[in-house]
Symmetry: C2
Subunit: 190 residues, 2 copies
């Protein structure tokens, strides 16, 4: 029996990503977001939703660029911090002890310590209501060599990303492998 919890923004699961931007004077900023996801294969695009008052909002509008950085578990404190304070008042990179490095592809900084970064140019933006959705075209994905497997592709167990539980405001690690996609369901094809 299902119980109604009303109209709310609950989903399992939310990713935890950190959006890297420059302001008009070239000052780097980083903001944690959970409302993000891939949204198109061609062109390859990722969407991030932001409220207008956010410093990152203005930076994206002004620079037309951003990075999407994936923090590892060991940076859960830093990622949480980057979602708690505004870059209007604080040099968040410095306060978190993180290093901004300009992307070669776009006018936006990545977080050097994080293992995965998507370099994005602003492709489209949509006013949905209280949030605006910024759709970035992914120009490159860059990954730390230390998280690549023998086949040259990243390994979940080395990246160690984490997810956000919005119902309880908690972060969880990623657990064990439970199945291969396009394979686990084959026996049901009959």
């Amino acid at each position: 029996m299902k119980q109604s919890l009303g109209a709310r923004t609950l989903l399992y699961t939310h990713p935890v990503v950190v959006i890297g931007t420059y302001d008009r004077d070239g000052r780097p900023n980083a903001m944690t977001a959970a409302w993000a996801g891939i949204c198109c294969s061609s062109p390859p695009c990722v969407a991030v939703s932001l409220q207008r008052p956010r410093h990152t909002y203005r930076n994206i509008v002004e620079t037309q660029a951003f990075t999407v950085n994936i923090p590892s578990e060991k940076y859960v404190r830093e990622a949480d911090f980057l979602g708690m304070v505004s870059g209007k008042d604080t040099d968040k990179f410095a306060a978190a002890g993180l290093t901004p490095v300009k992307s070669a592809e776009v006018n936006a900084p990545c977080v050097d310590e994080f293992p995965v970064v998507l370099d994005c140019r602003l492709f489209q933006s949509f006013e949905l209501g209280l949030h605006t959705q910024f759709v970035g075209e992914i120009l490159d994905v860059r990954v730390e060599e230390s998280v690549l497997g023998p086949d040259g592709m990243p390994e979940m167990g080395r990246i160690r990303p984490f997810i956000y539980d919005s119902a309880r405001q908690e972060y969880h690690a990623i657990g064990r492998l439970i199945g291969k996609a396009f394979s686990a369901g084959k026996e049901l094809k009959g």
Copy 2:
């Protein structure tokens, strides 16, 4: 040192959701998707990206409604299956042994066996390229009573959702709690 993997749709992590729809004749369909996420708080909205040839695409356009269902780990086979075959040819609910139940709020079926469902009416849609993004206004979130904690809110350890690793086409369980949001980063506020 970061290594370039080129422009690709890599992100950590993708959710695994199942989109429930009816066709014009009221036949239920369910399709697994990983390119989905919350995108607005007011109105509360969730976005799902689909390619035009998908049966679910036409169903959403025709009914202006869909559900977003969260499968538990124990349904990984069923969820994988629902992403492998088309509802054009197959009664996917029947083939997977799952039960469609009409939502009270919208003209779309939920998957009765899955613990969480978001009832959505089509709010907006955006042509991005090869994919169209459907933005649904969440009219209700319904949750199995068995996954609610003593406080009436769902518990991650009872829902047991899972995530998709697109780099390796694998599903992973959710792991241990690693931090409280808006708390873990407080010590960096100085």
